[in-house]
């Protein structure tokens, strides 16, 4: 059963779709958040062992993989930092354009 993989990929696709078709600054940020969620979910699913224990003072030998969890922990924090930065840029852009429509922010082209 690879349902978690599929679910995370679905989430990934929804996030990508959101960035592609939404013109709102914040919707773009949401899309990015969704993609990040999906990757986190994907990585955690990678480390899951059926019937495994929580990797905190395990008693048996079947334990879920702690490495992906550690990776995801790092990744979550990094993603948080990026998102906050992105939001601050969005606020700034809104102040300059008085609008959140990304399709109007096309000064740089060609």
């Amino acid at each position: 059963m690879s349902l978690p993989y599929l679910a995370s990929l679905a989430l990934f696709s929804i996030g990508l779709y959101c960035i592609l078709v939404k013109r709102d600054l914040f919707k773009v940020i949401y899309g990015i958040c969704l993609m990040e969620f999906s990757i986190n979910l994907f990585l955690v699913s990678l480390g899951f062992v059926t019937g495994g224990e929580v990797p905190i003072s395990p008693t048996g030998t079947i334990v879920v993989d702690p490495l992906p969890q550690a990776m995801v922990l790092t990744a979550i924090v990094i993603e948080f930092a990026t998102t906050v930065f992105l939001i601050s840029v969005a606020i700034r852009l809104f102040k300059q354009y008085e609008d959140t429509d990304i399709s109007k922010m096309r000064r740089l082209r060609g």
């Binding site: 960035i19 592609l20 078709v21 990304i102 399709s103 922010m105 096309r106 740089l108 082209r109 060609g110």
Partner: protein, 603 residues
């Protein structure tokens, strides 16, 4: 002493001018003319070294020096000096020296003097480098260095026309250089060797498609450099917009690098492709013909002379294309002779510009009274280029015609027709500038009282002397200089020299030309009247526009630019598009991998 000359003279000839070019901006700060004198002295020393080298190589001894350079790609710094190289070296240093002397006053009133002399030395040093290179890549590198310095010299006045022509010059010449580089790369990849000395032997028994490709690319590369029609469009612009001493160098030496390269590569390395001979001759004839036709209709004196360079290069290409010993001798002789009279012509026009401030022949006239020395020099040069005996041009043109006649009689008639037209066009030049009575519309800034200084007269007189001297002593010249060169290229054969006293169909034809010129001269008013008739003026326009060749090039360039101009819309500035590119790339690459690997998973 001999050892010193052997080892260091070539290095001095190359690097003394190049290195001292970096000091001129510093020296030029102290006094404006100091840079000019410094450059003159450096070039004098350089000329001394080439004079010292001459006796060594004329005994058919080659200097081959190798220094370590770029071990990473098996490249050594090689100096290869045979008679051909050293004669070119001598020619280069001689003309550069004269041009430097000429520039002392000619360029004095213009700003940017330090830059000018610095580039001038760089140019002369890198030309020496080209002629002394014993290795293809090194040859290429020096060739590019000449291009850079020429580019900067052409744009010296920074007028829009000068900038445009410099731009065109660099792009076209670089295109040629890239063709050459590809040819060199082909050789390197297939043979793994770039030294000229050993390549000749290595390639003599090779027969491959790649060799043909390399030869074709080499021909195109040098064809651009030596302005073979239809690759000549850069030349008239560049030569007419550069400062006059630079034009002299460009026409006298730079285009000869192409001819030199053709001889070096085709005789020294590939072996002459006899199968292509007639094509090359036809191209040469076309070049000669189109050059002279376009020259006929010019009113800009420098442009007229520049078109004649194209035409004379056509002669050299024709002579080269015969592939015979006589043809090669004719090519080399004409190369040297053309240097003398073409440089002289540019100096003469330079003097006219110096005196009157214009090069537009329509506005000039009657200058023979005001500048007799210049007029006589101009007369000598015009007669030389038109091939009137006993000046030097007569002999080399005669040899060319004879060499072509032996291979393809039809084409030799074109050579004769072109000769007649050359005569016609220089009759026009002399008439319009010096002879006819016309009130001058001189530039107001210029004063007719301004005298031509000795520093400008001396180079002109020296070159005029050369034109006469090499005409009078043509036999000795052929024997002492050209024969060793030909022998150095491992070609044996009889050299034929046309003589005014020897009755032959060709010499008599040149008399017909002279008579024709006389008729033209007598009936000049009437001819000019006829020329301005309507059917002629349409033709006139057509030739002036170079039969649309130039326009075709600019259309091509514009279409390239417009493709990208239109393509800019893919950078729409729309974030959606950018993310879509990313997604599409992901999709395509995944699909590619999926299709490539199928379902046979190995891991």
């Amino acid at each position: 002493m001999e050892v010193l000359v052997h080892h260091y003279a070539p290095l001095v000839a190359i690097f003394l001018p190049i290195l001292s070019s970096f000091f001129i901006p510093i020296i030029g700060r102290f006094h404006s003319k100091l840079g000019a004198y410094f450059a003159t002295i450096i070039l004098l020393i350089t000329m001394g070294t080439s004079v010292m080298l001459l006796p060594i190589v004329l005994d058919c001894e080659c200097l081959h020096l190798i220094y370590p350079w770029a071990e990473g790609i098996n490249l050594q710094f090689e100096i290869y000096a045979d008679a051909l190289s050293v004669c070119m070296l001598l020619l280069t240093s001689f003309l550069c020296l004269l041009a430097a002397v000429y520039s002392i006053h000619y360029m004095a009133q213009k700003e940017g003097g330090a830059r000018y002399y610095s580039l001038f030395l760089l140019l002369s040093g890198s030309m020496m480098g080209v002629f002394l290179s014993g290795n293809l890549l090194q040859f290429f590198m020096f060739l590019e260095l000449t291009t850079i310095s020429c580019f900067l010299l052409i744009l010296h006045y920074q007028t829009t026309a000068a900038l445009k022509s410099a731009y065109k010059y660099f792009i076209m010449i670089h295109l040629g250089a890239l063709c050459l580089l590809t040819a060199i790369g082909t050789i390197y990849v297939n043979v793994g060797e770039l030294s000229m000395a050993s390549l000749g032997k290595l390639l003599s028994n090779v027969n491959g498609e790649w060799l043909t490709a390399a030869m074709a690319l080499t021909f195109v590369g040098f064809g651009i450099e030596s302005a073979v029609v239809p690759l000549h469009v850069w030349l008239p612009d560049a030569h007419s917009n550069a400062p006059c001493p630079v034009s002299a160098i460009l026409s006298g030496l730079m285009v000869k690098i192409g001819i030199y390269g053709l001889i070096r590569f085709f005789y020294g390395i590939y072996g002459f492709p006899y199968a292509w001979g007639s094509t090359i001759i036809i191209l040469g004839a076309l070049t000669a013909f189109i050059g002279v036709i376009c020259a006929l209709v010019q009113t800009d004196a420098k442009r007229l002379i520049a078109y004649h360079t194209v035409s004379q290069l056509g002669y050299m290409i024709m002579a080269f294309g015969t592939g015979t010993t006589l043809g090669l001798a004719a090519c080399l002789t004409h190369l040297a002779n053309h240097t003398f009279f073409k440089a002289l012509l540019f100096f003469v026009v330079g003097a006219v510009i110096y005196k009157t401030g214009t090069k537009d022949m329509d506005r000039l006239g009657g200058l023979r009274k005001y500048m007799p020395v210049t007029f006589i020099c101009g007369l000598v040069a015009s007669m030389a280029i038109a091939g009137i005996p006993p000046l030097n041009g007569f002999f080399s043109k005669g040899m060319t015609t004879q060499a072509v006649f032996e291979v393809s009689p039809v084409m030799s008639s074109i050579a004769i027709i072109v000769g007649v037209m050359t005569l016609l066009s220089f009759t026009k030049l002399l008439y319009m500038i010096f002879w006819r009575e016309k009130s001058l519309e001189t530039d107001k800034r210029m004063s007719m009282k301004r005298r031509i200084p000795a520093s400008m007269k001396v180079p002109m007189i020296a070159l005029a002397t050369c034109c006469v001297g090499f005409g009078l002593f043509a036999h000795q010249y052929l024997e002492k200089i050209i024969s060793p060169i030909i022998n150095g290229l491992n070609l044996e054969g009889e050299l034929y020299l046309p003589s005014i006293f020897m009755p032959s169909p060709l010499t008599s034809l040149s008399y017909v030309g002279i008579v024709f010129a006389g008729v033209v001269w007598l009936k000049r008013q009437r001819i000019i009247a006829i020329m301005s008739h309507k059917p002629f003026s349409a033709l006139h326009h057509c030739f002036k526009e170079e039969l649309g060749i130039d326009a075709a090039y600019s259309r091509l360039a514009k279409s390239v630019v417009s493709v990208f101009e239109r393509g800019r819309s893919i950078m729409s500035g729309h974030l959606r598009d950018y993310v879509a590119y990313l997604a599409a790339l992901l999709f395509v690459l995944f699909l590619y991998i999926a299709l490539l690997r199928g379902f046979q998973w190995t891991f």
